[in-house]
Subunit: 105 residues, 3 copies
Amino acid sequence: MDHHKASKVVIITEKIIVEKVAKLIENAGARGYTITPAGGKGSRGVRSTNRANVVDEFSNVKIEVITGSKDAANRIADDVAEQFFDHYSGITYLEEVEILRPDKF
Amino acid sequence: MDHHKASKVVIITEKIIVEKVAKLIENAGARGYTITPAGGKGSRGVRSTNRANVVDEFSNVKIEVITGSKDAANRIADDVAEQFFDHYSGITYLEEVEILRPDKF
Amino acid sequence: MDHHKASKVVIITEKIIVEKVAKLIENAGARGYTITPAGGKGSRGVRSTNRANVVDEFSNVKIEVITGSKDAANRIADDVAEQFFDHYSGITYLEEVEILRPDKF
């Protein structure tokens, strides 16, 4: 099967805003996203999980979006950062991936 | 330590077929795989998790396989898509990674 | 917003050493890390999860660190492997990512 370049946007942020982030992603035209539980320590120096329970408490989420459009990927990353990261902890970054069936993304 | 190029295959699909996908991966000669709980919304427009519980229900899995062989990576991605994705929700994509100890993969 | 190249180190290892790995990451100067629950099968042929419960038991963790310094990324990957992987199961690999706000990493 032919493979095609695509972009993955990764957003790690607080669980409490996941619905809003999902809506922003859908409005940007992406056809799907994946959510994974996440914990850790952020760049503000505020630990999102208790040291004692660092592996059992997942108060963050990792949201991943794959899109064939690099422009859409950039826009999602920029918009999430601008709309949410002044008030909520979060980071966002992009990766290049290869997809098999571009009609699914 | 020297670093070497390798390929990561990522498969996001329904929890119910994880055993079958794991077997396909092992038969392809990969020496290991990682499984993470996952939820989200797929390209069929069928939400795998309830809107109200989007972050607490993880009915999907994310399976990651790293292999030094790009051919094996392509074959795993193609075979998983062909064998399972007509009947189950799922996506698969590839990424380039750098590994330290090629004998472990 | 401008995007900048950065490195992601991924470490998949046993939950029991997550505190030690987190300390090593912090000592290397990284400003944060993300932890996700993980299960699977490793290169030693020792399955970390029971076959019957492969998707419900997550006795491993996936730790991800993003840093603007490729040297720091290499050092974290090398140090984790050297200090822990003779005695604990684990793999580590690196990916290239694009970040938006380098001051956060």
